[in-house]
Amino acid sequence: MRFSNEHWRINPLGDRAMLLNWNLPEENVYMYLQWVQQQLKIHPFPGFIEAVVAFDALAIYYDPLPYRLQAPHLHADNQITAHLENLLQTMPFHYKRKQTEIEIPVCYELNLDLQALCDQTGMSQSQWIEMHAAVTYEVACIGFTPGFPYLLGLPDVLQTARRETPRVHVPAGSVAVGGPYCGVYPFASPGGWHVIGRTPIKLFDADRTPPAFLRVGDTVRFQPISVQQFERLAGEEGFG
């Protein structure tokens, strides 16, 4: 199978970014987009700043000046599209990125909504937790707040609509589910998802390089821990 123009579309995202949407119904489409993201770093076009992968989209942020100064009669978006098409033509078909599997300790006892979810599904808490922790999740997007991961893989039976009324305050480290996703709130913030536990890990540490604990493409498994273990680890992390 050869990747061709019918598999993607590229459109301007305002005047300083482009958005590449991938049309293939691939499960791990973001892996291909990460390859493109990597290639752009190695072979940047004039004015390229950075690229972000989120689900089936790749955003490319650029400064229009270098292309304009180089060739004012050519439209920058056409030039960027041509550059991307060149890169995409060399993309390997059987690309399988080395995946980093990350274990995230989670104290399910420190939840806010687990019983309500169990009441909805008719499961016991230990059944719910067992199902949740059995999955290897994939990070498909980072956003909402710095370091916030959208994790794919939540079993259908655990999926639920967002809370009707978002909470004003969700504690930092809260592990939550909303719609088809599992997520972790790195900062205390308002939140519309159901909080099912809490991790002592700092999902975002401004003094760490890189500051986000998770990146698109990582795989995550949740490791149940006790409240005592949570308190000990939280203390080590300097967490409140």
Partner: protein
């Protein structure tokens, strides 16, 4: 050289051109809300365009200079006084040691800027000195300025800045931007203070045709205004009442979070568009109906709540041509300053 904050105004932060390279980690770009004003002030002072400036929202702050220096104010700044003497915007001024600059109250615009010789010296985080208020890094200790803060400045002035300093000191030469030159890029400048509503240039967004035809016309023709619920993260448009067509409504419910960019205009379910600005999130799940052109993001942010403005659609090519023209104008200004 340091500067002491005697009155911190309402919301003052150190900003530069923004932080790049962090969007994949969900880190916002931040940076000055009005980049053209920031650039003009820096060029006037002989600084690189990207030297950090002090941004003040809604009300100016009051500072005392420890040592002689050069400064310039612009953007929304009005009724600015240096030791009780009125200060002209977009003009390089010499402040002697101990002098006090009061950036006043203003009635037009939202964001005022104080640029200084060499630029302010903020904390660097991920390669930028812009303040990231969410994370608490960059700028001055990652926070809004407070009374009593002592702000360092960059004492390594450029050769141009040194020469400007000497020429003002010795022969009182004036370094001032032409009002018409500034007015082309900044609606806050004196020349721009006319009764006519300003035209904000925009580009079509991916989901613009999800709007009903009636809403598309409203967007294009109706005078709009910002609500008071506008800040560095985003500006809410008030009274627009835009609606999606029925099929689009269904599709919008299934829309996943996508990367966004400052200037993007999202349409949340309540129909009041939200324009993403400097401190905005990096991804969003609402339909994107439009993008404010980079040259006008500052002008939009400078609209006070309730102040009406109109929209003017442009092409991507035109948006790039305008950004290029700003760059050219800044170069011309810089060359002019070097020759004085």
């Amino acid at each position: 050289m340091t500067v002491e904050i005697l009155d911190a105004g309402l919301l003052a932060t150190i900003q530069d051109m923004g932080r790049v390279g962090g969007r994949a980690d969900g880190v916002s770009g931040c940076g000055a809300m009005d980049l053209p004003v920031m650039s003009i002030l820096n060029v006037l002072l002989g600084n690189p365009c990207e030297a950090p400036v002090l941004e003040m929202a809604l009300r100016g702050l009051t500072v005392r200079f420890q040592r002689p220096t050069l400064f310039a104010v612009g953007g929304a700044c009005q009724h600015v006084r240096l030791n009780e003497m009125p200060v002209t915007s977009y003009k390089v001024l010499l402040a002697e040691a101990g002098s006090v600059l009061a950036c006043g109250d203003w009635t037009h615009g939202v964001y005022g800027y104080l640029a200084i010789a060499g630029g302010w010296s903020g904390d660097d985080w991920l390669g930028s000195q812009s303040t990231d208020l969410k994370v608490g890094r960059g700028g001055h200790a990652g926070r809004v300025l407070k009374k009593g803060d002592i702000l360092p400045t960059n004492e390594r002035w450029s050769a141009t800045t040194l020469r400007i300093f000497q020429r003002i000191r010795e022969s009182g030469v004036m370094f001032q931007a032409s009002p018409t030159g500034v007015a082309e890029w900044s609606r806050c400048s004196l020349a721009a203070q006319s009764a006519d509503p300003v035209a904000i240039r925009w580009l079509r967004g991916e989901h613009f045709d999800w709007l009903t035809l009636e809403s598309q016309t409203r967007w294009r023709t109706m005078p709009l205004q910002l609500s008071a619920r506008s800040d560095r993260m985003g500006a809410r448009l008030q009274g627009a009442g835009l609606l999606l067509s029925n099929e689009a409504h269904e599709r919008s419910n299934r829309l996943r979070s996508q990367p966004v960019a400052p200037g993007a205009v999202q349409l949340p379910p309540d129909g009041e568009p939200l324009v993403l600005l400097a401190d905005s999130q990096t991804v969003g799940g609402y339909p994107v109906i439009a993008h404010i052109a980079a040259v006008d993001r500052g002008n939009l942010a400078q609209c006070r709540p309730g102040e009406r403005f109109l929209l003017q659609e442009i092409t991507l090519e035109e948006a790039h041509r305008l950004w290029h023209k700003l760059h050219v104008d800044l170069n011309v200004m810089e060359a002019g300053i070097r020759c004085l």
